[in-house]
Amino acid sequence: MQSKPHMKLNVRFWSYFADVTGCRETAIEAEAGSTLGQLHDLVCKQFPKLADARKSTLKVVGVDYQDDDFVLSDRDEVSLFPPVQGG
């Protein structure tokens, strides 16, 4: 049986998310056509402490905010971070 095609995504962590995960970024493979919400699920499985902040997590593809329904493309760069605090 042929496996479903996958895509490679780079996920970056900012602010205390980098401390919680112990890394600034990680590469994750997801099924082609996955949404940002599905990727977030995968990330929370890999880094369970991030699940505590799931509702308040801000999600970005490239340099633009996106919602959970956003369909990802191969090699997309995703950023996850807590609420911002400039000023």
Partner: protein
């Protein structure tokens, strides 16, 4: 609308920024705001704040906010400086200048800019405790 955005680890030289101001003859309002690091954060004494910025996105989000202001209000120019890295207590971490013909739109734009920054611009603070 003219805009200038600076993200820098260097101290904000407000006198130099004021000296470099350029306004046309029709402008009657210059609103400036300086955000200063307080000595306490969540009831704890601190010595400084370490500001982290996702620079590419920070620039993108500020540009979007500037465009929204331009569409809403008659503003001649906005200059904004935000520190990155360690900023000591009593030092300015943010400096904003808005130039307009009248004070109402200048204050309005300054308030909107800072409110939106605090919602959308990816900059985070890590207080350094004494």
């Amino acid at each position: 609308m003219k805009t200038a955005l600076t993200l820098s680890p260097d101290p904000i030289d407000e006198a130099a920024l004021a000296k470099a101001r350029s306004i046309s003859d029709d402008m009657g309002a210059v609103v400036t705001f300086s955000g200063v690091v307080r000595g306490r954060e969540d009831e704890a004494a601190i010595t400084s704040i370490d500001y982290e910025s996702f620079d590419d996105m920070t620039k993108r989000q500020f540009e979007l906010i500037f465009t929204e202001i331009e569409q809403r209000l008659p503003i001649e120019s906005i200059r904004l400086v935000h520190r990155t890295g360690i900023v000591q207590v009593n030092e300015s971490s943010l400096w904003v200048e808005v130039v307009a013909a009248h004070r109402a739109e200048a204050f309005d734009a300054c308030q909107y800019l800072i409110d939106q920054m605090k919602l959308r611009v990816p900059i985070w603070k890590k207080p350094i405790v004494t």
